[in-house]
Symmetry: C2
Subunit: 458 residues, 2 copies
């Protein structure tokens, strides 16, 4: 075991002479063996071995465990850091399960200790059976592929040098070397299912194939390698093709539909992960509903997913954690020339001039004698009609917006300048007629500023 | 069931009005239900439904099955083609298992019938439980990810419209519609394992998770989608970066080591598949041995895999189904000027001239008075030494070859022109000295042709 262990440390984990390794030492069989084997190879590999033990405050006897670990480390001359966390309190505080809270507290404690003690690596005692049991546990729970990815031999500072060894290997070593240990009571939450897996299901599976554990460990390792690949692909895609703003994430529909379905599905998961921070409760049917948004002929539609509001807006997919707030109604009265603040940070400047200065997207001009003050700036109202300049006549403003591919949320809040009828849609179109007189007449000039473009495309 | 079935046919399989569908009809419950449901939706979808039954010649009662199927089709007015194959004989002939031979015979018969009858699709009766049982069967057998990919709803002409339905759904339909059927005895080889899976293992798994079948079916479907993606990626890579010649496959080492480990492993599998036609017996450790060839510092090394000989040759990986043949020794005596055939298709032309014509890679010139005839053309022999032009003295020819990154196989067969010592390595280097006299002397000119470049790089 020691020879293989050494090879794994040097070739696969790539420890270097001078490295300090912090062992997460629960006092259970696995971590005690891990510490012992590390101590045996430490000299020849020039490694410094330290240990850290966290008292989770979850069981009355946990102080005994800490004392046991301390005795052992004193005897073997291993520098030990002992920490205390009230895991049940942390769980309540963060609304987590005990298992999850304990894992987080442990990781945080180990990383902090490694920093303080200057350790490059943190060694954990997971072995092949843990790997296989986790795999089966997740397979039975209905995990997707990502959930079936095995623990990594090395992941950040964490290393698992026992991952290729079976529980039997470890127990044999324990016996041979007479290593004391306490009964491991971590994984309290899953201990029931794990025991059933270990004692009921796995023996059955071994009936079908005596080498099933090897196979499943290898499979989960391979899935882990491919997961890393997918993470790279998805991150690269999102980096280049996902716009992240205050109002959520925006993705190009064309970009997504051009991807292979496998990558598309991964990218959508990745986007949801960015948005929510986790994928809890997100399943195949939710991803299918995003596919539907992208593939359906409707250019505006919404879908509700757990913790996610998704919308197709023409050629874009919009993801938010909640639906956008309803636009607030507003009405800005414009009694005459001046500068008027608009809701949402825009401005309208109104002036009367002799002669024209020219129109553009954000400026328009009318014959002042044909436009009665006061003007009103307000958003869309149901039934609004508009006679766009250049069009053959009046039409529903809603239809005009839709033809221009203006998102629903913009349609509902875009400021319209209204006199006796809608005069101007800043950034979009002026109304028909009321042209300034070519010579000598007074010109009403309207200039909007500070508004974003109404139809942004990716 | 019919509404969902119709939706699957139209939306997912995308049948079109006018399509003819050939049903693979064993007479068992699954295919009988498949035929019945297809007949029910045929009119409204404007589909023509035909059937084909193959008598495998594996059981005495198989003629009864054919007769049963024929009666049913006559009554329901379904055009039926019945075929006969002696599957046991085919299995013997192709050295296959019965199961495999039966599957191949069936596919071939169905495809042929579909061609003759002008059917666009061939419908098979696989359902969700088949999917799940196949998944578990392969998982237990130790399949890699590719083996866990589920059957496709549509794959070439084959469609599986029942794939989303459970065995229960199908049996309920059978009952409701009083559909006659025979006991299905296909899958004879795996029937034992399958029965154990169905009756022993699956009930256990349902104890852990009542919806396990749904989960596993979904998982295998997702794996199938990702398999398609990988196939695309691998094919694209091999298309652009794998040289396929008479002597095997050549891949660039640099190209491979630049790939993500997940893609690299897939590409290596893909290359082996191209080479061998299948991946039987190829496991993780064999792929690891290819990785070793690529990663190790030795620039020439070999590995033996099942049905594959692999070699690193400097910056290339060489894959063959068998080791290259040992080079045959040869000796071509050159008594004087003339043209001499070399083994392997090359030629050496020897002439004596007044004055020089110039040297290049394939031509060299010596002072004729300093080179004694006969010359000898022969391959490398152990202990050969060579004084390369421009070098400070003699050295081992083997070392010269290795410095020039000449593959071992080329080293052993490359023709050397020898007088009292090695004069010339055609295409590589002339020996030191014996330069033609600048004025008036006789010049011995050697020209090699028809030899490939000794150090090809990808």
């Amino acid at each position: 075991m020691q020879a293989l262990f050494k090879r794994i440390l040097v070739n696969d984990i790539q420890v270097s002479p001078g490295d300090a390794i912090l062992v997460g030492l629960s006092g259970g069989a696995d971590s005690m063996v891990l510490l012992d084997v590390l101590l045996h190879v430490a000299d020849s590999l020039q490694l410094a071995i330290l240990a850290a033990h966290l008292d989770h405050g979850m069981r009355p006897e946990s102080a005994d465990d800490a004392a046991f670990v301390a005795r052992f480390c004193r005897r073997r001359d291993v520098p030990l850091t002992v920490g205390h966390r009230d895991v049940p309190a942390l769980a309540r505080q963060h609304k987590q399960g005990l298992e999850e809270a304990a894992r987080e507290a442990r990781r945080e404690f180990l990383q902090q200790t490694a920093r303080v003690e200057g350790c490059r690596f943190i060694a954990l005692g997971h072995h092949r059976n843990d790997q296989v049991e986790t795999f089966l546990h997740r397979l039975l729970r209905g995990s997707g592929l990502s959930g079936l990815a095995g623990m990594r031999l090395r992941s950040g500072p964490f290393i698992r040098p026992l991952l290729s060894f079976s529980r039997q290997d470890i127990l044999a070593y324990l016996d041979d070397h007479q290593i004391p240990h306490v009964e491991d009571a971590s994984n309290a939450d899953t201990v029931f299912t794990r025991n059933r897996l270990r004692h009921e299901l796995l023996p059955r599976l071994r009936d079908f194939n005596p080498r099933i554990e090897e196979h499943l460990a290898r499979l989960s390792r391979r899935i882990a390698v491919e997961e890393d690949y997918w993470t790279e692909q998805v991150d690269a895609y999102l980096e280049s093709s996902c716009e992240e703003g205050d109002d959520g994430l925006w993705l190009s529909r064309q970009g997504l539909t051009g991807l292979h379905p496998a990558l598309r599905s991964r990218v959508l998961r990745g986007a949801l992960l960015r948005l929510r921070g986790d994928l809890r409760g997100i399943g195949a049917k939710h991803l299918a509903s995003l596919d539907d948004l992208l593939d359906a002929p409707r250019s505006e539609a919404e879908a509700h997913l757990p913790g996610v509001w998704a919308a197709r807006r023409y050629e874009r997919l919009w993801l938010r954690t909640a639906p956008p707030p309803d636009p607030t109604d507003f009405a800005v009265v414009v009694p005459g020339p001046g500068v008027y603040d608009l809701p949402g940070g825009g401005r309208l400047s109104v002036s009367l001039n002799q002669g024209c200065l020219g129109e553009d997207r954000w400026a328009t001009e009318f014959d002042a004698d044909k436009v009665p003050f006061p003007l009103l700036v307000r958003p869309f109202r149901k039934g609004d009609r508009f006679y766009p300049c250049g069009a053959p006549g009046h039409r529903k403003l809603k239809d005009f917006f839709i033809d221009a591919k203006i998102d629903r949320e913009i349609r509902r809040s875009w400021p319209l300048v209204v006199a006796d009828e809608i005069l101007w849609l800043p950034g979009l179109r002026r109304g028909h007629g009321r042209w300034p007189q070519t010579v000598g007449g007074r010109v009403l000039r309207l200039v909007a500023s500070g508004l974003s473009r109404p139809n942004q495309s990716l």
